[in-house]
């Protein structure tokens, strides 16, 4: 068996499909609008896809251990408001506040994981509940956009190094780090084991509870990172900024071939999923399709993605 056929055989069908769709979108794009195929547009795309990338990374952790994180939107909002609110003119606070916010995200995720493990309640309900509490607290704190960050922090969202967007670069770095972690660390392998067969994982000496909690903490961390990104993009803390992102974070994960129920999924798949969906939105904007139809398309993509990778295993 030659090396090449071997590789293709082992590549997940999900990834093949995403690649095919991505190519299709690019080809259509070239014909539809001359500005679509420019380097400039692709660089912009990398800038735009950063937040979705962060969120999808977080959601991937939750999905891999067999759960789901519906508190992502609330954590985005909370960290967004917290960051802008804490700094609010006091530029010296910027870095401490950023660290604080990332720590907050991780801690919140940790709490999600802990509640899930300790009570045995389905993570869907747990994260829905904690999200509701967090969103409520944020809205109690402020109903209006609030706070500010120093001007230089906007570099995170808009800055370019040698023409390449910083945010896109940070996102790729995060994907690389997570990919290496999942592939080359014992803990990373354990994430797959716990999601794939919890009982077997336990009997193989894996501490399931720790792994689960860790996964939710990672999810919270990346949501907070996205929250910080949005501050840098708009300069204020918006108490509703995260609303659409809980659901948005799920689509690329599913499209990228992760199995809801756990134990299967690759980081490259998720990255391709993020890229494909951002590309699609980008294209739809160029050809002036209404946002509303974009929603329909998004819904259909989810259905097609999961209905194609039918899996006979138990549903969550």
């Amino acid at each position: 068996m030659s090396g090449l056929t071997f590789r293709i055989k082992r590549t997940e069908p999900a990834i093949m499909m995403v690649i095919a769709l991505t190519l299709l979108i690019i080809i259509i794009g070239f014909f539809v609008n001359e500005r679509f195929g420019t380097i400039r547009n692709f660089l912009n795309l990398f800038e735009q896809m950063a937040p979705l990338g962060f969120l999808a990374l977080g959601q991937t952790f939750a999905v891999l251990v067999g759960g789901i994180d519906l508190s992502i939107g609330a954590v985005v909002t909370a960290s967004n408001v917290l960051l802008a609110g804490t700094v609010s003119g006091n530029d010296a606070m910027m870095m401490p506040a950023l660290i604080l916010v990332l720590a907050f995200g991780a801690a919140f995720g940790f709490m999600n994981g802990w509640i899930t493990v300790a009570t045995g309640v389905h993570p869907l309900i747990v994260t829905l509940g904690t999200a509701s509490v967090l969103q409520g607290l944020v809205l109690l704190y402020t109903l209006q956009p609030t706070g500010s960050v120093p001007f230089w922090f906007e570099e995170f969202a808009y800055g370019r190094v040698f023409g390449f967007p910083i945010s896109g670069f940070v996102m790729l770095l995060c994907f690389l780090a997570v990919g290496l972690f999942l592939k080359y660390s014992q803990t990373g392998r354990a994430v797959y084991a716990v999601g794939g067969n919890p009982e077997a994982a336990r009997l193989n000496g894996i501490r399931n509870n720790r792994i689960t909690i860790l996964a939710y903490a990672a999810s919270g961390f990346f949501a907070a990172l996205a929250g910080a990104y949005f501050v840098s993009r708009t300069g204020v803390g918006d108490p509703r900024v995260g609303d659409p992102y809980t659901l948005a974070s799920i689509t690329p994960v599913i499209v990228g071939g992760c199995l809801l129920g756990g134990g299967r999924g690759r980081i490259t798949g998720v990255l391709l999923g993020v890229f494909m969906i951002s590309l699609l939105n980008n294209l739809l904007n160029y050809i002036n399709i209404s946002t509303f139809i974009q929603w329909v398309i998004q819904g259909l993509i989810i259905i097609i993605a999961v209905a194609v990778y039918v899996d006979r295993r138990k549903k969550p």
Binding site: R10, A190, R207
Partner: protein, 495 residues
């Protein structure tokens, strides 16, 4: 090496281990024997830290170690090969073999090159050709079993527990396994070996401990005991008291014929006939396609080919619903996953396949349901307060009787029983055998699927044997014995 003192472990409704004492030495192969439901699996899981006993102490390697998690037991050098496969279907063979024990480079990351090399070496030692990079879900069951065994050869194992490792492996692989196990023994590893096959025990074990109904019966040197006395220890009574007299055909016209039944890849062209009043055994290794034959007959799995007649009339597109209407019942193998309705009461459990019978105009009559259930509870002597009681906290035997009552009600032609006494104590077992015999006496054709050869031999007047999806033979009358069945099931001499 390991000592268990007065271990007690209870589950709702059952005392699974009752003050059990057990001890095994380094460098010995210690067989653990007992009927289904005797408490062997619970004992193993206690050793492995998967269950925490209510009472008693575990002494391992000279120190008292009351595990709180499987990880502690694992770290101490205990490895268990469970009967059920503990694999991760989406991960590779090498990943599975080394899970939690991956070789690492000096930077701390997993060394895949090393891991694949070691995996290949271990698989080679087991005499098995398997690509370490293959995803486990794509393997056959036998290959998956090999992966499970390979896991035991990683790292520093001091105590190795094998729970029926040869139940699904073929003769050649079993020979390799025995050789490996003997090597480990010589290296000073303590091995606890569980098997249903007594021949195997006499072949490799040094000592044997017998459990019965959750209690310790005794420990013997293998040289000090023979097969009959061992069986006596396991069941606690004479064999002739356990099995009823054999049934005879009530009619020479078959009630059900199956011709060239196929369910790819598990069943290949299987043909047989069932006669009224006759108990027929269906034997074979786990994975030989026994259960699939039953599913294909009953309609709960879709077969690819074959023709079936019931009472002479063709019955070729089976569904469970139609089968029930034709008077075919199917007591499935897995009581919890495929049988019991744990959230419903006994009456609802018993009447589930016959909702039409307890309703008028689609409205259920609680009274009718109650009366029917009450009758069945009496008929099968089920120890339960009443038809409205819960079923989840009953003993395994009584749960099984509930399901028996369920199927005995609807089937008037054929009853298929898949592992009818799994997880049931000896007392209930004898009762269930009597029930089976009684139903046969009423003229029902019965097909018993079982991995306990004794059971097949004790009950059936005719035995069909399968191997790897093919019917390898049919035994009847005096030819029905364990040795003959084993020979057909593995296609080699069991001696």
């Amino acid at each position: 090496m390991i000592e268990l003192n007065n271990i007690t472990k209870t589950f709702p409704g059952v005392k699974s281990l009752d003050a059990v004492t057990f001890e095994a030495k380094a460098g010995e192969i210690h067989a653990l024997l007992g009927e289904n439901g005797a408490g062997k699996s619970t004992l193993i899981k206690t050793i492995a830290g998967a269950y925490i006993p209510e009472e008693g102490e575990i002494i391992f390697d000279g120190t008292t170690r009351n595990w709180e998690s499987p990880k502690q037991a694992k770290d101490a050098g205990i490895h268990v090969i469970y009967q059920e496969l503990m694999l991760f279907p989406e991960l590779s063979v090498a990943d599975n073999i080394f899970i939690g024990k991956e070789p690492r480079t000096r930077f701390g990351q997993i060394d895949y090159k090393q891991m694949h090399m070691q995996a290949r070496e271990i698989l080679d030692r087991l005499g098995h050709v398997l690509a370490p990079s293959e995803t486990v879900k794509n393997l056959t069951v036998a290959d998956q079993q090999m992966v499970e065994i390979a896991k035991a050869l990683v790292g520093d194992t001091k105590l190795l527990v094998l729970d029926e490792p040869t139940a699904i492996t073929s003769g050649r692989e079993a020979a390799v396994l025995f050789e490996r196990v003997n090597n480990l023994k010589e290296q000073g590893v303590c091995i606890i070996y569980i098997s249903h096959r007594l021949e195997e025990i006499f072949e490799i074990a040094d000592r044997v401990t017998v459990l019965k109904d959750g209690q310790y019966v005794g420990t013997k040197n293998i040289t000090d005991i023979d097969k009959d006395r061992l069986v006596g220890m396991m069941v606690g009574r004479e064999l002739s008291d356990i099995y009823p007299t054999k049934s005879k055909r009530a009619d020479d016209v078959p009630v059900l014929t199956a011709h060239d039944l196929s369910l790819t890849p598990r069943v290949k062209s299987v043909s047989f006939e069932l006669f009224p009043g006759e108990i027929v055994g269906l034997a074979g290794m786990v994975g030989s396609g026994r259960s699939e034959v039953a599913h294909a007959l009953f309609g709960s799995m879709k077969r690819d080919a074959g023709s079936v007649t019931v009472n002479g009339a063709p019955y070729n597109t089976p569904t469970p619903k139609k089968s029930i209407e034709l008077g075919i019942g199917f007591l499935t193998e897995d009581r919890k996953e495929q049988g019991l309705l744990p959230l419903l009461d006994a009456a609802a459990n018993i009447t589930a396949p016959g909702l039409g019978e307890i309703s008028t105009n689609a409205i259920i009559s609680r009274d009718k349901e109650f009366v029917i259930a009450e009758n069945e509870i009496q008929r099968f002597a089920i120890a339960i307060p009443g038809p409205r009681s819960d079923v989840w906290n009953l003993s395994g035997g009584n749960q099984q009787k509930i399901l028996f009552a369920r199927w005995a009600r609807v089937c008037h032609r054929v009853l298929i029983l898949d592992e009818p006494t799994r997880g049931v104590d000896v007392g209930a077992k004898v009762e269930i055998y009597k029930m089976i015999r009684r139903l046969a006496g009423e003229g029902i054709a019965i097909l018993v699927i079982s991995s306990e050869l004794q059971e097949v031999v004790g009950l059936s007047s005719r035995v069909l044997v399968m191997r790897e999806g093919v019917m390898t033979g049919e035994l009847s009358g005096q030819d029905v014995n364990e040795k003959a069945i084993m020979r057909l099931a593995t296609l080699q001499d069991a001696a």
